[in-house]
Symmetry: C2
Subunit: 191 residues, 2 copies
Amino acid sequence: MPLAAVDLPRAYRLLNHGPVTLVTSADGERRNIMAAAWAMPLDFDPPKVAVVIDKSTLTRELIEASGTFALNLPCRAQAKATLDVGSISGRDLAGSDKFAHFGLATRAGTAIAVPLLEGCVGWLECRVISEPHNQGRYDLFIGEVVAASADTDVFRDGRWHFEDAPETKRTLHYVAGGAFYVTGESLDLGD
Amino acid sequence: MPLAAVDLPRAYRLLNHGPVTLVTSADGERRNIMAAAWAMPLDFDPPKVAVVIDKSTLTRELIEASGTFALNLPCRAQAKATLDVGSISGRDLAGSDKFAHFGLATRAGTAIAVPLLEGCVGWLECRVISEPHNQGRYDLFIGEVVAASADTDVFRDGRWHFEDAPETKRTLHYVAGGAFYVTGESLDLGD
């Protein structure tokens, strides 16, 4: 897969259209992955993101311990995996983890010690900006994006180009109950 | 247009798939509308939302004065209007406002004194939960959804049904520079 770094001031564009995300996290040898539909850009440069991470999750524990997380953007080919990783808790896989359990390949983050899910089409590596009130009251985490990358088949020159690529590489928008919408037709009213 | 209230515990589903929003606001006789792509659900019940509102905007001034705002969900037929309302500031329209300037019809909110944009396909009426630190540092506003409604051609039984309705009623996902993606194909992996 053709992969390239995304300039940080353009990193918000990976998330601007509201796709579902997969949150990866790690603390030492422990690592996890979960789905999160509630994620959005929060600033351009330096780029920041906001994401909701429930208190009950292993992901929450790993993020609070390490101060890092990554938002991976799954594509249509990964819809089932996106549901799968939300179907169990990493805490229930003693001696293993969801990556091994579901056969999910990863590569190392470039700026943080968090695995990135292969086969995704975009990745935002983030360091938590500690906001205990938001985390405690709203389960809301704010992260600064310290590295970003994308599959150049679908994201290049600072924007998405789904229309030139296989349908299987389109991003997903989560509805509920196992249902998604695939990112659809491009509508360009710009100059 | 067939319009119905949305039960509050399902209101998050209006926003779950990451559509662009139009933020309407009012304080007394003054009223405004702006586009915001950075909005997401924050809680289920009572439903909350998070949205980024820049300090420079008239919308920000009106929201801080009234403690209320609405998120309107524009559809494909409103793509140009969505760009139009972002092209000027309400402050530059002395004695008028963007609704009059662009010929945008509204109806009254049901729970808050904020206009709702006609022709949209979903509406979330919100009261600000005051969080001065988030508002000051991140331009981040948290609102409790106190009423929600939708066009039943595309949202009924607590979920979107774009596939049965005209293409013009699909929601939009903002990219940058006047470009959107339309909400695309449904992909249902649920039971």
